[in-house]
């Protein structure tokens, strides 16, 4: 990872309670490190993630937002991640269309057994955010210190 002591990215990870949050727990209990820049918010299901939350994170200064849920077909609520998948696809496409670097958003399906995948995904994502640098295209200037 490039060493840039100046830049400490803020990264929000929305994780569904049933798969990805448990996957993150497994990463923890397996001591699979990923940068502390990632902060996890627990939601019952990826379908609970409102595009508004993602924009809100960017508004308040997040540099990257990642959403994790159960693999398609494995949703605890059967269909939640299917809706989430469509919503996020459209939202990300719109952000890309508006010139926001598409590496700042990501969706990854992580099961409760995939602690390794969780950790790898977070490492990759954080690295990507470091390479993109500070988020200047989305965000409210009033929140910048």
């Amino acid at each position: 990872m490039p060493i840039n002591k100046e830049f400490k990215p803020k990264i929000v990870a929305f994780c569904c309670n049933w798969c990805s949050y448990a996957g993150a727990d497994l990463a923890g209990s397996s001591r699979l490190a990923y940068p502390a820049d990632v902060k996890i918010i627990k939601v019952p299901c990826s379908c609970r993630v409102n595009p508004m939350f993602i924009l809100r994170a960017f508004e308040k200064g997040a540099d990257g937002v990642i959403m994790c849920g159960c693999h398609p077909g494995d949703c605890h609520y059967s269909t939640g991640n299917y809706y989430a998948r469509r919503r996020m696809t459209l939202l990300f496409s719109m952000l890309d269309y508006m010139g926001v670097e598409n590496g700042r958003t990501r969706v990854e399906w992580v099961s409760a057994a995939e602690g390794v995948k969780f950790s790898t995904t977070m490492n990759e994502f954080v690295e990507k955010i470091y390479s993109l640098g500070e988020n200047v295209r989305l965000g409210d200037l009033r929140c910048k210190k």
Binding site: K60, G61, R142, C143, K145
Partner: protein
């Protein structure tokens, strides 16, 4: 009377901009709005009306009032600084300048609005006579002369030259700083221009609009009129009329959470919005008819009743041009003239 070749205008702007902030009409796409001057900005003095009125320069759509900052439980409060640098608004039209007079009545009477007062103190208005009045203009109805902007400096656009006539002390002082760029001129071109403008103004389709009966005495009669019920129906409850208007002065005060503190700011509000003056119990105007009526009653009845007959409409015609569903104050006035069923 001075003049400057239009080809030399950018030098004039640059000169003003050296010591003062400068706001000029700038074209962005097909729209012209007042904006801070920069070398790259496409200054457009030919557009008769900017989409938004230039009241922004004195009463911005949004401005911070103060900032609270929370650090480990310690809260500090920093008030926003008042305007202390002179600035020039270049190219305001007679109607918009009259609009500022309307705002003065609101913000400069007690209690004085210090933010607004500071801007008025430091603001220098360079008024531009209306080269080609348009069909939606009806400033003359309110006694405004589009050929005589009552600014610090009145400017006339005539073919290759801009004629420059300082009218106030502020105007003279500004002229002083620009003496290298301005040359002396006689009045002929300006007088001809004024005649031309006046001639067109007389032919405007709304020139003969009558304001008879619009005063404080007519309050109950107008308020209770069934005509409002017919007029408001197409209204979308958007704020286009309000936000393009040079005289609308309502604002809301809100807090913005920056994470570590609060920025308290005020921003324009529109009486057309359903959450205008929303209170805990709900809203005191419960229907769009009431909100619609409020806007026009305020401009044509309440305001003149409280301000020696000064209407808070200046006939700029922006709402006439911009209302998405083609409602406007002229149609309201005409409807009452006819007694309904316009």
């Amino acid at each position: 009377m001075k003049k400057i070749a239009k080809s030399n205008l950018s030098a004039l702007f640059a000169k003003i901009n050296e010591t003062k902030d400068l706001y000029v009409p700038v074209k962005n796409g097909e729209q012209v709005n007042f904006a801070a001057y920069s070398e790259e900005a496409e200054v457009d003095l030919t557009a008769l009306k900017t989409v938004k009125s230039p009241k922004d320069a004195f009463f911005p759509q949004s401005e911070n009032l103060y900032t609270c900052f929370n650090e480990q439980g310690k809260i500090s409060i920093t008030p926003e600084e008042l305007q202390d640098k002179d600035f020039v608004v270049f190219g305001m039209k007679a109607c918009d300048i009259k609009g500022i007079e309307v705002l003065d009545k609101v913000f400069l009477s007690e209690p004085v609005d210090s933010f607004y007062a500071a801007r008025r103190q430091h603001g220098i208005i360079v008024g531009l006579a209306c080269d080609k009045p348009e069909e939606s203009c009806f400033c003359t109805v309110f006694g405004i002369n589009p050929a005589e902007p009552t600014a610090d400096v009145a400017v006339y656009d005539d073919e290759d030259f801009l004629y420059w006539n300082a009218l106030t002390e502020k105007g003279n002082a500004l002229t002083e700083t620009l003496c290298d760029l301005l040359e002396d001129a006689d009045n002929t071109a300006v007088e001809n221009k004024k005649k031309e403008i006046t001639a067109i103004a007389e032919k405007l389709p709304y020139a003969n609009l009558s304001l008879e009966g619009w005063n404080g005495d007519a309050l109950t009669e107008k308020f209770d009129s069934p005509i409002w019920e017919e007029l408001y129906k197409p209204c979308l409850a958007c704020g286009t009329c309000t936000f393009s208007c040079p005289t609308c002065q309502c604002y809301d005060i809100k807090d913005y959470n920056t994470g570590n503190g609060i920025k308290r700011y005020r921003c324009w509000d529109s009486c057309m919005y359903s959450d205008f003056t929303m209170m805990a119990h709900g809203n005191n105007r419960t229907s769009q008819m009431q909100r619609f009526r409020q806007r026009f009653m305020h401009k044509l009845v309440y305001f003149p009743a409280n301000n020696d007959g000064m209407y808070s409409c200046v006939g700029c015609g922006r709402c006439v041009d911009k209302c998405p569903q083609n409602l406007n104050i002229v149609k309201v006035i005409k409807a009452f003239e006819k007694g309904g069923k316009a």
